[in-house]
């Protein structure tokens, strides 16, 4: 069903567009300079070349040689593809010192005849122009420009080739392109952005329109890695249709009872609590229990450097080093301030694909939240959730809140991604901290709804059922350890 499409091979893009770019139609990729349009074009060219859709790459901004070098640098091996006749290059750059002056009317036939010949003689099936902005320079009057552009798109359609035209925008939001005419005649319009959001670079991609095709709407985070552009769509289709009800132990005595049998597989758990409530300890127990069962676990620590984190676990009687040595546990510590959220997502993806952990811990997502804008953070969390669901992994994320706030409702995007939310909280009114833990929600589980007493002690933490009577007449218990 639907219109014929060509896959692009750009990670995430074919999900956003429900299958790729329209075949034998034209696509416009608009964005300011530095948004990754050329990288998009090169990845696409390499993918098409490898799937027998011979592309002609028309370089106007950069010479053909420069494009090949950039592509080879991304591991696309364009030079080899060109040598094998699977990819063609047209170099339309003009040297800066050689000026072009206009003496009267002109048309686009010079290029059109060449495109016709490329299709006829070299069996080109896709034409990628980088960029229209540079191609139509010097810029003709508006009506003429429109004619030229229409002529180009019309030619591509007449030749039955798939067209991808890059165009420069002056701003991330507002008028789509500098020329201002391209989007009318293109069936698919993609906008790439690279904004500064809260002191941080945020790259995103948006499918602005797609004629006769459904597509994902809105901006999706993306990043440029050493292997090219990676987009993070949140694809509800990738959620497994059937999630097996499999439980695994939390590693905490009493907690398995509280959750009526332990954590659910393929679930995302958010643990909310104020600082010192034992979240890191619970996260460590989750990781240790997994690694001790022989599962692979990655622990992302965002709050302290790795040696300090490992030492702290050692001090509270939860040594991590033996598990790290067996290869079942990886501890990765990062400062969220020094990495972009997109890079963090890529790192997470690469980690999942290469190491193949079944359990992932992130302690704490609040450190990331505090180092980014709300919009970036929301995109990040949704991206993490999509990644975990896509791979069917389980995760425990901790979130720091004010004392007394742990059981209060959280941001809607956080509560929807979480399959389980637990609160760890305390009141500091008495001589000792009065710690409590509760299951706020747990999908598909007949869990306890009343509070549990939380005891932090060497070697881990314990939870004990609080009876209603005890709850109403609480006498704080001694607490010998705090995280």
């Amino acid at each position: 069903m639907g219109i014929p499409k060509l896959t692009t091979g750009i990670p995430g893009f074919d999900i956003l567009t429900h299958g790729g770019i329209p075949e034998a139609r034209s696509t416009l990729v608009a964005g300011r300079s530095g948004t990754g349009k050329t990288i998009f074009a090169l990845q696409l060219a390499a993918h098409l070349a490898r799937h027998d859709v011979t592309p002609l790459l028309v370089g106007v901004e950069e010479s053909g040689e420069d494009l090949l070098v950039t592509g080879d640098g991304l591991g696309l091996d364009l030079t080899a593809l060109r040598r094998d006749g699977k990819l063609h290059i047209a170099d339309l750059t003009r040297p800066m010192e050689g000026p072009t002056v206009v003496s009267g009317e002109y048309d686009l036939y010079g290029l059109i005849h060449r495109l016709e010949a490329a299709v006829k003689e070299r069996h080109v099936k896709a034409i990628i122009v980088d960029s229209a902005t540079a191609l139509f320079s010097p810029r003709p009057p508006a009506d003429q420009l429109r004619n030229h552009f229409f002529q180009l798109v019309h030619t591509l359609r007449r030749l039955q080739v798939t067209g991808v035209i890059l165009a420069e925008s002056t701003a991330d939001y507002g008028q789509l392109t500098t020329l201002g005419v391209e989007d009318y005649v293109c069936d698919l319009v993609v906008i790439m952005r690279n904004t500064i959001d809260f002191d941080r670079r945020r790259r995103s991609i948006e499918v602005n329109k797609y004629r006769r095709s459904a597509h994902f709407k809105g901006e999706y985070p993306c990043t440029v890695t050493t292997r090219g552009l990676v987009i993070f769509p949140q694809n509800p289709k990738e959620r497994p249709d059937f999630v097996a009800i499999e439980r695994f132990s939390s590693g905490v005595s009493g907690l398995d009872e509280m959750t009526s049998g332990g954590w659910l597989r393929n679930s995302i758990i958010i643990v909310r609590g104020p600082t010192g409530s034992g979240k890191t300890m619970l996260a460590g127990l989750y990781a240790r229990a997994g690694a001790l069962r022989g599962e692979r676990v990655v622990y992302y620590g965002f709050e302290e450097p790795r040696p300090i984190l490992v030492r702290n676990f050692e001090l509270i009687g939860m040594p991590m080093t033996p598990l790290i040595n067996t290869g079942n546990l990886r501890v990765v510590c990062r400062y969220p301030e020094s990495t972009s959220l997109e890079d963090l997502l890529v790192n997470l993806r690469i980690g999942i694909e290469e190491y193949g952990p079944s359990l992932i811990v992130m302690d704490s997502i609040s450190s990331i939240e505090h180092a980014s804008s709300e919009k970036s953070f929301r995109q990040f969390i949704i991206g993490v959730a999509a990644l975990l669901r896509e791979h069917g992994r389980s995760a425990l994320l901790t979130q720091t809140v004010m004392p007394g706030e742990a059981a209060r409702h959280t941001a809607p995007y956080l509560s929807t991604v979480a399959d389980a939310i637990l609160s760890m909280d305390y009141t500091a009114d008495g001589y000792e901290l009065d710690r409590q833990m509760r299951v706020i929600k747990m999908r598909g589980s007949n869990h306890e709804t009343h509070p549990y007493r939380l005891i932090i002690e060497p070697g881990g933490l314990k939870v004990e059922k609080l009876t209603a009577d005890e709850y109403l007449n609480r006498k704080p218990r001694a607490s010998s350890f705090a995280t």
Binding site: T93, P95, G98, D107, Y109, G110, H113, R114
Partner: protein, 111 residues
């Protein structure tokens, strides 16, 4: 013409299917008629017949007049209905006008 004076190499790229290309050929002939042609060589390439011949000079639009030599190359886009860019180019390189020469003399120089 001094022996050191450089040769001027012009190539006019046209398309048989374009009206502005036909005008460019006529306009180029008219302008060149007013100059001594000894140092000026002109070639016309029809990109309809030879689509790859524009590759060397990175031709996108037709008509385009490319000055290949002397270096660096430069381009004049359009049908030359405005003669100034070409006239300025010829005069910049000191090409002499044909004062007193009959137009007939140059009719056979061929563009």
């Amino acid at each position: 013409m001094t022996p050191q004076a450089p040769k001027i190499e012009l190539v006019l790229y046209i398309s048989a299917s374009s009206p502005s290309s036909a005008r460019a050929v006529a306009n180029l002939r008219r302008i060149l008629r007013r100059y001594k042609r000894g140092r000026v060589s002109v070639a016309v390439r029809d990109l309809y017949a030879e689509p790859w011949s524009g590759e060397r000079d990175q031709i996108t639009f037709t008509p385009t007049l490319c000055k290949r030599a002397p270096e660096p190359p430069s381009w004049i886009l359009g049908d030359l209905s405005r003669p100034e860019p070409l006239v300025e180019l010829l005069e910049f390189y000191g090409v002499e006008p044909t004062h007193g020469h009959s137009e007939a003399h140059h009719r056979h120089s061929g563009v």
